[in-house]
Symmetry: C2
Subunit: 163 residues, 2 copies
Amino acid sequence: MSAIDACLENAEKYAAGFAGGELSASPKSPVAVIACMDARLEPAALFGLREGDAHVIRNAGGVVTDDVIRSLTISQRLLGTREVIVIHHTDCVMTKFSAAELRDAIESETGVRPRFAMKTFADLEGQVRRSVARLRESPFLPHKQAIRGFVYDVATGRLREVV
Amino acid sequence: MSAIDACLENAEKYAAGFAGGELSASPKSPVAVIACMDARLEPAALFGLREGDAHVIRNAGGVVTDDVIRSLTISQRLLGTREVIVIHHTDCVMTKFSAAELRDAIESETGVRPRFAMKTFADLEGQVRRSVARLRESPFLPHKQAIRGFVYDVATGRLREVV
């Protein structure tokens, strides 16, 4: 059985016990979470979020890219969220490789240079501050009164507020 | 108490019961999930994923943008994932507004035209196929043997495989 098939087997059980058919597209909570894709970080468990509660936007690093701004613009303007949590985490792979080397390796292997920015960061807290600053500077987001940035410690399960 | 504070209160409880300190940055499962940010869609519950199991990448629509390709490139090349699940869902807001109208409204309110593509889609299954096709066409992803696309029905909790 492939790993996807194992996921689908669980999805069958999930559907059998499903009771969320009346939930609205507009989240119950005004919070949108922006987090790293890292497997050790589980926003729903961490924040006690259940189906229907909150938007969750995730990418490599939890960094605020144009695609995150696009998603959060839709979240705030069309679906009513007003607060934002940004979470990066300790032991993040984004702090551990050279973007230039990865880009070079991909180009030499494939003949194509990635057109997306492949940024890494050494300074975890600084990167949280930059991500929050990018949100605060965006002209497209109507709600900026409650944007808070955290580092999640994968060794302890604790959040530390940075900004 | 703000909604963020309620999240943080839960995070304190989460940390108090935390037992995942030994988990590796490389996910246990080779599956990376690409899903919409929608609050009704909860990939961890749906697929039975726990902390340390799988990468989860989410944005508005679950569409395959350059930022998703960036994230998945890192997931496959640096952290060992080899299979991909793409999930879009019924009743998605991305099928319900006019991108041109939203862009115009933002520009007229802020004086700045969004530089990010604000694509919407009317054809849900077609959009799943396009997202999977974008992954299969990407020169940057080394593992394309197992990329499968689904529509999640928010009314029933069921997944339907599209491609």
